[in-house]
Amino acid sequence: MALKKGHLVALLLLEITVMAVRPPSVHAVQFSRERDVTWDSIVRETRSFFANVFLGGVDEDGDGTLSNGERANSSLLRSASVAAVLVGVTCGLLGCFITLRRMAMFGDMLGHAVLPGIAVGYILVGSKSTPALLLGALGAGLLAAALTKTICSWSRVKEDAALGISLSFFYALGSWLLFWITRDPALRTEASGLDEYLFGNPAVINPPDLWALGLAAAVVLGIVSIGFKEFLVCTFDQGFAASIGLNRGKADTTLLVLLTVVIVVSIKVLGVVLVAAALTIPPATAYLLTDRLKRLCLVSAAIGALSGFGGTYLSAVLYIGTGPAIVCLAFGLLLVVFVVSPRHGILSRILRHRSLALRTARENILAAAFRICEREKRSEATSVGVTLENIAAARNESVEATRAIARKLRGSGWALLRDDRLVLTVEGEERARRVVRTHRLWELFLSQEARLPPDHVHPGAEEIEHYMTDEALEELEKFLNHPRTDPHGRAIPDSKPRTGREQREADA
């Protein structure tokens, strides 16, 4: 039974109808935000954010000095932004190698998989002591990575599915334990705040967390700069890496361990889901901007830092969560770069495409004018010109279309438009001559060397006449032994117009 669009529509309609009769278990939304975002509030919060982060506090009660509360407020915001920037730099840097090695989804998996480790750390120690939670998370992360690798190498389950298995299994274990912790009367006394690890919140970063972050950043920076060349080779040329005695497995394992460490320390800032974004979005953005690995690392780290700081600012100003704000900002940057990146962006791609199309259209008209003059044995393309009707007829298109393109030719310095006649300049004539020359040489090549019948060679030549480089053209002519005529018997024009004497000699 063939699948038809009608089936799909019917399916959807029925599904929606049934959905409609579903009783509401999620209540309707009432708009009652505690704080409204207005222009004034944005200005006020911006001022207070920067004063808090850079000046040590805001004098809110206006008594001329900073009270303890105001200082504490400032140091909270300061450590939050430092943490966000550190996470951005570290994840951005490491993420370059991770995404290039196609391990992007490992970050996502590890982000979820550290959860049971955090729970076990809490259960064992009985408090939210940073080292215990971090060590537990590290253990769980490494275990999950090992499980993924084992599943891949010992069964036919593919890597993506293996990642999904480790992710959901570990995550389920973690949420199982967390659920128990938050319900168990003996355990839950200290547990409030454990869910910061789910969504992430830089505002609850304490000095040990900050130390751990700084240490992880230093380790990543150190290892990446010491082993930069090795990582580079292992990433791009595994065969070469093996031949100079580098062990790719070792490089991958190092990356994986570093990744686990970074995720473990970042998770309190960004939460289990969003930490993957910090590892993928800045490197992807940088990848659209640069080609060299070193620059990629620098740009990616810079973007990470920028979105970390900017996200913290946005969250303070717009009263939204910091982790989501960081990720949204980074993703917004990615989208902008995706569109406007000078070399790899969509816009430049479209522009390139259009300029190519325009050049092709212009060259076609020039070549048509050249061919008409040649056929009528006139040499006045550059003096009297060719009527647009003639060109349109030769190109088999409407006069309007030809005229539209001819108008665009005026700015190029290749031709003038005089009384509906296209008059080629000297450069324009040279250009047209080159296009026709390329066309006919290629036709000859196709029929002589590729043994295509003469009536099959035109379409290919029509394409390539706009692309051939000077060197290739010269080589082609040499290869064909400086031919004079194409397979249709037409003369192949020389690269320069002949002088009167040469012409007479050729005619003789």
Binding site: A28, Q30, F31, S32, R33, H112, V157, F169, L198, I346
Partner: protein
């Protein structure tokens, strides 16, 4: 301690949660099987995160359009319409964006996946925060699900319908899905609309994920989308069998998970159902991963061990044969024993393991243990080792004559391959080489 009957279901309380769990498991593991076999297992991960902003936006919108609340005349909740619509839009938008990023720029598909869905999730979290006061989309619901809240049949109807649709779609379009998954090129030449199948699957996935969202939470959906299909994939080869088995495994882990929760709850260890179900699914996977009859780790390990034992046994026979003083005399009818220590020297192998190998040889009747550390071959042992020797020398000859290898380079390869050559292949070699009697080293090739 409760009685066994009470550890099972309290039917009045547990029927509908269990029913719901089974439905969710059924729909997700069926659909997950398709995505697993299309090598897009993590698409479920992406979609299940990406629907969050759609759900939040749907709630926000319905709050704006119907400020008095979601309930309307005819007892219809417009909320769910908005939620489903928003989720579908978000799910399709995110998959489109992943595709656009990887198609129109140099970003790799997996990076695009990893970049898009957390971003969608972040937007969702912000939207929920903006709408926080009314919408009880709290952490518990997103992360643990709320199976416990299902109390009546009509709460399960949407999921029931989604499940039926998944099943019907798979039944109706199984061939089309199969073809477009494994050979999109052929599917296109046959006039099949591959894009339509792809899109239909994405739409179904989104709808299923939205239905499962409330029951098991945003993230545990992935467990049911991936783990049962992967388990089935280790047990079966055919497309429909993988799907059936996956559905069976999904339902089994749902029921066992619910039961486990009740069991643990009665023991004072309170847990949520959805995580328990996922944990059970994961444990089932690990069990199959270790014990599957053909592809399990244990089966593989045993196959490997059997192989390495066979190779050792054959090498031992070879060593005894070579040490045999009578070999050159050709009087193998009355073999003279050689010392086991000497074979250990030749094979460079620890003696204790050789003794095990010897015991196996004796048991098979290929070797005789004279008891004083001296061993000899029986007629069976001799004929077996001569077969292997024949394969070895024929292979050496083949490599030198046909492949142009140097005579001093062929031994190591032949030493490995002698254990694997089938009798028919040996015969083939023999006739290719025109039945030689001596190998290029001048040694005799046994018949």
């Amino acid at each position: 301690m409760n009685s066994a009957a009470e550890l099972w279901f309290d039917w009045s309380l547990d029927t509908w949660p269990v029913f719901m769990a089974v439905l969710v498991a059924l729909s997700t593991s069926l659909l997950g099987g398709v995505f697993l076999l299309r090598r897009a297992a993590l698409l479920g991960d992406a979609v299940s995160h990406s629907v969050l902003p759609g759900i939040a936006a749907g709630l926000l919108l319905s709050g704006l359009v119907h400020p008095t609340g979601g309930e309307e005349a005819f007892g219809v909740s417009r909320n769910m319409l908005y939620v489903l619509g928003g989720a579908l839009v978000a799910g399709i938008l995110s998959t489109t964006m992943i595709e656009a990023l990887s198609r129109y720029s140099r970003i790799k598909p997996d990076t695009a996946l990893g970049a898009v869905f957390p971003a969608f999730f972040a937007v969702g979290v912000i939207l929920i925060e903006v709408a926080a006061s009314g919408a009880h989309l709290d952490a518990d619901c997103v992360f643990y699900g709320s199976l416990e809240l299902i109390a009546e049949f009509h709460q399960t109807v949407p999921t029931l319908v989604a499940t039926v649709f998944v099943a019907v779609f798979l039944l109706v379009a199984l061939k089309e899905i199969l073809l477009s998954s494994f050979d999109p090129g052929l599917a296109r030449t046959l006039g099949l609309r591959v894009r339509l199948v792809d899109n239909a699957l994405i739409v179904l996935l989104t709808a299923t994920v939205v239905c499962a969202f409330e029951a098991v939470g945003a993230i545990l959906v992935i467990a049911f989308l991936i783990i049962p299909p992967a388990t089935a994939y280790l047990l079966a080869d055919r497309f429909h069998r993988v799907l059936l088995l996956s559905a069976l495994l999904g339902v089994t882990s749902a029921v066992l998970g619910c039961w486990l929760t009740i069991l643990l709850g009665s023991a004072g260890f309170e847990t949520a159902r959805a995580p328990s179900m996922a944990v059970v699914a994961g444990l089932l996977f690990l069990l199959v991963f270790l014990l599957a009859p053909e592809r399990g780790v244990l089966a593989r390990y045993r196959r490997q061990r059997a192989l390495s034992r066979r190779i050792l046994d054959e090498n031992l026979l070879g060593a005894i044969y070579r040490l045999h003083p009578t070999q050159t005399a050709g009087a193998s009818a009355d073999p003279v024993a050689v010392s086991l220590d000497q074979t250990a020297d030749i094979l460079r192998y620890p003696l204790p393991e050789l003794r095990h190998s010897l015991a196996r040889g004796v048991k098979r009747g290929e070797v005789v243990d004279h008891g004083d550390g001296r061993v000899s071959l029986t007629a069976e042992g001799t004929s077996r080792i001569e077969r292997i020797l024949r394969a070895h020398r024929l292979w050496e000859s083949y490599m030198i004559q046909e492949l142009g290898a140097r005579p001093d380079h062929v031994h190591d390869t032949a030493d490995v391959i002698e254990h694997y050559l089938q009798p028919s292949l040996v015969e083939e070699l023999d006739s290719t080489l025109r039945r030689p009697t001596k190998d290029p080293h001048g040694k005799e090739i046994p018949k």
